[in-house]
Symmetry: C2
Subunit: 214 residues, 2 copies
């Protein structure tokens, strides 16, 4: 009667084990704040000794960085097939796409965005900033503002700021339930349209008072 059907130790390939632990960590950090999740919890969840977590990820903060990176990495699948139509259409489609993706991964996305740096940690801030960066660039091409090489930095700043609006608005919808999806959609499209049509042209114009016309 072989009771020991499961050997207490099972060897996995490093990549597999690492991925399994990371998956468990993502789940736990998604439902509880940073300080309330111990590496022991992660290890228990993965059915593994606590030391192994440190072996694969180093410090707890490093594990958390990986987790946040996974959480904010959005499936960059589509978005390549919507640049047709005028500005309003593209803006509308972009907002729709954004609301779709955040509502689908709402819990983990909320956790990642809410966890703005476990109290101002520099490294976490960096990871969030990188994600903002790619999102902003993607948004720039979506609304067709790829040129303007010399103002690229100003534009990125504007779009990153708009990202803050998108984040807080989505939170009002998904977390607080204070707004409906339609209201959020309306707010985000109208605002983005205003920024692109009114704010950005004025910024581009103001930046070169040194070279009037010619």
């Amino acid at each position: 009667m072989s009771v020991e059907t499961a050997p207490r130790r099972r060897r996995l390939e490093p990549d597999a084990r690492r991925g399994q632990i990371l998956a468990c960590a993502v789940r736990l950090f998604g439902e509880r704040p940073y300080a309330d999740v111990s590496t022991t919890d992660v290890a228990r969840e993965a059915g593994v000794a606590r030391g192994l977590v440190n072996h694969y990820f180093g410090a707890k903060k490093d594990l958390y960085l990986e987790v946040v990176r996974v959480m904010v990495t959005i499936p960059e699948v589509a978005l390549e097939r919507l640049p047709k139509g005028d500005l309003r259409t593209r803006v509308d489609a972009s907002v729709t796409w954004f609301l779709d993706v955040v509502s689908r991964h709402s819990t983990s996305w909320l956790a990642a965005v809410t966890a703005r740096g476990m109290g101002g940690d520099a490294d976490v801030e960096r990871v969030l900033a990188e994600a903002e960066e790619v999102a902003a660039d993607r948004m720039l091409v979506a609304v067709g503002l790829t040129g303007e090489a010399q103002h690229r930095e100003d534009l990125r700043g504007m779009v990153r700021a708009y990202g803050g609006l998108a984040t807080s608005t989505a939170r009002e919808w998904l977390q607080r339930g204070a707004l409906t999806r339609d209201q959020v959609h309306l707010l985000l499209t109208t605002t983005l349209l205003t920024i692109v049509e009114q704010v950005i042209p004025q910024v581009l114009a103001d930046r070169e008072p040194t070279r009037p016309e010619r």
Copy 2:
């Protein structure tokens, strides 16, 4: 030659001691993230035994809550003397006031806002939410949207969302230096104007399809 000018122990009134410790904590948490500030640091900064910190504030998190509460509490002095003029004027004045106050207390304000809950902590989130609430209400009266009793919740949601834009935009200016104050001012005024004039009327209209006209 009385060398012992300073008795190693000095008794202060509870309020005074508590306030002194809190002031030191505000300074430390303003320049370093939550995890990097130990209660020992706070005690040393205040020239006091570590146990006293726990005696007055309980757990470290409770002290942090007090600190955040202090950081986000804005001097509610003025703002009562700007409701003259049309909408554009009032919006402009409100944004100017906001930018003034955040730039004056930039470091502590940034620390508080960036510290979105030390990794999603519920209590810290609550304190931030309360601050957002009063800021939103203040903004509502500033732009003259006090009526509309039945839509108050929707309006507050909108304004809170706009607060996210204000936050991220100010961060682009103060922390990243990616935008100038003029650019921030332009973005915030134009956007707020759009929200009040275009988005909100539509929301108010859409909410009552059950009572068409009469």
